[in-house]
C-alpha cells in the first residue's frame, strides 16, 4: 500500500506575521518559511505506518512555488520515499488544491491520504474534507489516533465535545491533529540522502485543472490593538479592580 502525504510551505509558526502597509497581504519577503506544523504529523504518521509493515511507500505532494521543493525535501529527509511538486506561482485556494490532490490520487492510487488539519496561514480547514468528497472516500478529520486493521481504520477524532471514534474503509483521507504523534527530526545523513530521492515537478498545465481564484481579496489589515493594561500588586487589588473598575465579578 502507498500513502500520499500533503505538505504546505507556510510562514514559520514562530514568526510574528506583519501586515503590509498597502493592505494587499502579509509580509513574506525574507521571512522564515517551514512545513505547515500538522503536515509534519501527517508525514510522521505515514512513516510509522510504513515502519509497522502496513505500507510500502510514502509519497509527498505539495502544491506551490518552486521553493516548496525544500518543504518536500524536509519530508524526504524524515524518511519519505519520493516527492511530487505541482508548481503554481500564485496563492491557490483549497478548492483548487483539493482538485489537484484528487487528480494526483487517481494516478497514484494510494490506500491512505494523510493531510494536516489546518494550514496555519489561511486557517481554512477545508482541503482534506474537500479532497475526501471529490474522491468519494471516507474522511477522518482532526485525527489524534489512527489504527489500521484489514482494509479498515479506527480513528480517534478530536471534537469540540471531547473525543469521537469512527471506523472508515480504505482508501480514506485523514486530517491530522498535532497530538497524533511527535514528529521526528531528520538526521544529517538522512538530509544528505534526501537530496538524491526522486522529486517529480509538474506544471499546472500537466494537471489540467482550473486554479483561478474564486474569492477576491479586498484588503488585509491589522486587527485592532488592545490597549495596554496595568499591573496590579496583589490579589486584593486585582479583585477590587475586577469588582469596581471592570465590574465583571
Amino acid at each position: 500500500m502507498k500513502i500520499l502525504v500533503t505538505v504546505k510551505r507556510v510562514i514559520d509558526y514562530n514568526v510574528q506575521v506583519r501586515v503590509k502597509s498597502d493592505g494587499t497581504g502579509v509580509e513574506k519577503d525574507n521571512v522564515k518559511m517551514s512545513m505547515n506544523p500538522p503536515d509534519e504529523n501527517a508525514v510522521e504518521e505515514a512513516l510509522r505506518i510504513k515502519e509497522s509493515g502496513k505500507a510500502d511507500e510514502v509519497v509527498i505532494l505539495s502544491i506551490g512555488g518552486e521553493k516548496s521543493q525544500e518543504t518536500i525535501r524536509t519530508a524526504l529527509a524524515m524518511g519519505a520515499d519520493r516527492g511530487i511538486l505541482v508548481q503554481v506561482d500564485h496563492e491557490i485556494e483549497p478548492l483548487a488544491v483539493s482538485k489537484i490532490i484528487a487528480k494526483i490520487a487517481e494516478e497514484e492510487k494510494p490506500g491512505i491520504i494523510l493531510m494536516g488539519k489546518q494550514a496555519i496561514d489561511d486557517d481554512s480547514n477545508q482541503t482534506p474534507q474537500m479532497t475526501s468528497a471529490l474522491l468519494e472516500w471516507p474522511q477522518a478529520t482532526f485525527a489524534s489516533k489512527i489504527e489500521i486493521n484489514d482494509q479498515k481504520a479506527l480513528i480517534t477524532r478530536e471534537i469540540d465535545e471531547g473525543l469521537e471514534k469512527i471506523k472508515v474503509n480504505m482508501p480514506f483521507v485523514a486530517s491530522c491533529d498535532l497530538r497524533l504523534n511527535e514528529p521526528r527530526y531528520a538526521s544529517l545523513p538522512n538530509i544528505m540522502k534526501a537530496k538524491k530521492k526522486p522529486l517529480d515537478l509538474k506544471s499546472i498545465e500537466d494537471i489540467g485543472i482550473d486554479v483561478k481564484p474564486r474569492i477576491e481579496q479586498i484588503k488585509v489589515e491589522e486587527p485592532p490593538a488592545r490597549q495596554k493594561g496595568v499591573m496590579v500588586s496583589d490579589i486584593a487589588e486585582l479583585v477590587q479592580k475586577l469588582k469596581h473598575e471592570a465590574k465583571v465579578i
Partner: protein, 317 residues
C-alpha cells in the same frame, strides 16, 4: 436571496452556536431556513421554530443520522442546496467537518470562520492565527460560509414561529461507521459561551494542580480552559483547549494562569472583554494584552484569590 443554516444540536437541544449562526444569517437576509438532521429530534425542531427569524425548519429524522457523519449530512444538504443563495454553518468541529464537502460538490470556494458580514457577498475573516483580518468577496453563485459563533450575539430563542417541514432522505454512506463518543461531562458552563473563563497552562505542572483552577472557576461560575501545552501534557482533555487549533472564546472575563501567551493561544482569547494574567515571569507576552497583570507565583496567587472571592461573597450576603 434565501439562506440555509445547518443546525448543530445533540438531538435534545440546539447548541447556542446555531442561534449565533442564525443571527449572522439575519445580517444577510431575513429569508432563513434551518435544516435539522438527526433522530428523535422533535424537541429540537420546536426550539428552532421558536427562534426569532426562522422561516422554515426542514427536518430529516432518521436513526441513520443520529450521529453527525459528514458524508451523510453533506449529501442531505446538497439535495436541497440549489434552492439557496447562502449555505451557512458554525465554525465548530461539526461545521468544519461538513461544509467544505458541500462547497466542493457545488464547485464553489468556501469562506471559513467569518467574524463580520459586510454585505451579502463580502465578509471579514481572521487569517494567520488572527494576526491579520482579511476582507474577502465571493463571486460564486452559492456562498458556502462557516461563522465564528462567538462573533455574533445569539438570536432570541422565543418569539419566532417558523414552519416545520419534513424531508425524506434515507441514503446512507456505508464506508464510514460511527463507533462512540466520549464527551467530557461537566457541571460548569460551556467553554464557548461562558461569561467567565479561567484557563491554566503549563505553569500548573500537573493534572492534580488543575484543581486550583477548578476551584476559582466554581466560585466565579466560570468555564475552565487550557493552553495546548497543558492539554498535551495531559493535565486536561482536548476539549479544554483555547486557541488557533482549539476553541475561540469571547467571555466578559478571561483569567490566564501560568500561560505564556503564544500567538496561537491569543488567537482563541484576545477578543475577551477583560483579560487577567497571572504569571511569575514579568516578561511573559501575555502581559502585553492583559488588562490586569499580576506578576506572582500561581501557587500562592490562586489560594489567595480563592480566599478573596470568599470574602467578597460574604460581604454580598
Amino acid at each position: 436571496m434565501s439562506i440555509l443554516v445547518i443546525a448543530e444540536h445533540n438531538n435534545n437541544e440546539i447548541k447556542v452556536a446555531t442561534r449565533q449562526v442564525i443571527s449572522a444569517a439575519s445580517k444577510i437576509d431575513d429569508n432563513i431556513d434551518v435544516i435539522l438532521i438527526g433522530y428523535k429530534c422533535d424537541e429540537v425542531s420546536k426550539q428552532l421554530s421558536n427562534c426569532v427569524g426562522v422561516s422554515k425548519v426542514l427536518v430529516v429524522n432518521n436513526e441513520k443520522f443520529k450521529n453527525p457523519l459528514a458524508e451523510n449530512f453533506s449529501k442531505i444538504v446538497l439535495s436541497i442546496a440549489k434552492n439557496y443563495s447562502h449555505i451557512i454553518g458554525p465554525a465548530s468541529t461539526f461545521g468544519k467537518n461538513i461544509l467544505p464537502r458541500i462547497s466542493v460538490k457545488l464547485d464553489v470556494a468556501q469562506i471559513s470562520d467569518v467574524i463580520k458580514i459586510n454585505s451579502e457577498d463580502t465578509f471579514v475573516r481572521p487569517i494567520y492565527a488572527g494576526n491579520a483580518l482579511a476582507t474577502v468577496k465571493s463571486n460564486d453563485k452559492i456562498k458556502v460560509i462557516t461563522i465564528r459563533p462567538t462573533s455574533f450575539d445569539p438570536i432570541p430563542k422565543e418569539g419566532g414561529s417558523g414552519l416545520i417541514e419534513t424531508i425524506d432522505f434515507t441514503e446512507e454512506d456505508t464506508s464510514v461507521e460511527f463507533i462512540e463518543r466520549e464527551e467530557s461531562s461537566s457541571e460548569r458552563p460551556e467553554l464557548g459561551t461562558a461569561r467567565v473563563v479561567v484557563s491554566g497552562g503549563r505553569g500548573l505542572q500537573s493534572a492534580e494542580n488543575f484543581k486550583l483552577i477548578n476551584e476559582i472557576a466554581d466560585k466565579l461560575n466560570a468555564a475552565v480552559g487550557a493552553s495546548r501545552a497543558a492539554v498535551d501534557a495531559g493535565y486536561v482533555s482536548n476539549d479544554y483547549q483555547v486557541g488557533q487549533t482549539g476553541k475561540v472564546v469571547v467571555p466578559d472575563l478571561y483569567i490566564a494562569v501560568g500561560i505564556s501567551g503564544a500567538i496561537q493561544h491569543l488567537a482563541g482569547m484576545k477578543e475577551s472583554k477583560i483579560i487577567v494574567a497571572i504569571n511569575k515571569d514579568e516578561e511573559a507576552p501575555i502581559f502585553n494584552i492583559a488588562d490586569y497583570g499580576l506578576n506572582a507565583d500561581l501557587f500562592e496567587a490562586l489560594p489567595a484569590l480563592s480566599a478573596e472571592l470568599d470574602k467578597l461573597n460574604t460581604i454580598e450576603k
